[in-house]
Symmetry: C2
Subunit: 120 residues, 2 copies
C-alpha cells in the first residue's frame, strides 16, 4: 500500500476512533498543524479544531462508521476519494467525496461534498 493510500486509511480511521487520546495522536500524525477542513455543514482548523469536529460527529452518530468507497485518485499534491457513513452493519446514511491537498505528506486541506443523503 503506498503512502497516500495509507494516509487516507488513517484519515478514515480518525473519524472512527472514539478513544480521544489515541485519536489526537493520529490527528497530529496525519494532519498538518495548520490544516483546515470544510464541508457544507462543518468547518475546522488546526489539530484541536479537527479533533472537536470529529468528536461532535461521533456524538451525533453513535455506533456509526466511516468507510472508504472505491479507490483514491491522486496527482501532484492533490487527492480525491469517496466515503460513506452508516450504522455498523447497516446501509449508509450519507455518502460524500473529499478533495484533499497535501503538504509534506500530511493533510493540508480537506474539502468535502455530499453525494447522497438517505431519506429520513
Amino acid at each position: 500500500m503506498n503512502d497516500r493510500a495509507k494516509l487516507i486509511d488513517q484519515y478514515i480511521d480518525i473519524w472512527n476512533e472514539t478513544d480521544a487520546s489515541r485519536r489526537r495522536r493520529m490527528i497530529a500524525e496525519a494532519w498538518a498543524s495548520d490544516a483546515t477542513y470544510l464541508d457544507p455543514m462543518m468547518q475546522a482548523a488546526g489539530h484541536a479544531g479537527i479533533d472537536s469536529m470529529v468528536e461532535g460527529v461521533q456524538a451525533r452518530f453513535p455506533n456509526h462508521r466511516f468507510k472508504l468507497l472505491g479507490q483514491i485518485d491522486t496527482h501532484h499534491d492533490c487527492l480525491r476519494f469517496a466515503w460513506e457513513l452508516g450504522p455498523e452493519g447497516g446501509p449508509a446514511i450519507v455518502r460524500g467525496s473529499d478533495f484533499v491537498t497535501l503538504t509534506g505528506g500530511r493533510l493540508q486541506a480537506v474539502t468535502g461534498f455530499l453525494d447522497y443523503i438517505a431519506a429520513q
Copy 2:
C-alpha cells in the same frame, strides 16, 4: 441562473473560445489574476499561463468542444462539477471533474481529475 452557474458556464466557454482576443478578455473576467490550474497532465498560473494552456489544448483537439455535465455543487467558496470533451456531434473522448475555489466571485484555483478516457 445564479452567479456561480454563470461563472462555470464562462469557464467552459473559455475552453471552447478559439478567438484569442475574446478568450483573453473572458479569462481576465472569470479568473483571478494569480489563479492556478492543475490536473494530472497540465498546470498553469496567471491569465497568460491559463490562456496558453487553453490554446494548447485547442490545438491538440481541433473541432472538439468542452461541455458541462449535470449540475454544479457548491458551498462556501468551493465548487465542483463534471465536464466532457468530445468532437462536435460525437461521443466524449474524456470526462473529468473539477474542484474549484473562488475568490471575490472569480476562479482562484481549479484542480481537475479524470473520470473517463476513451479507449484509443
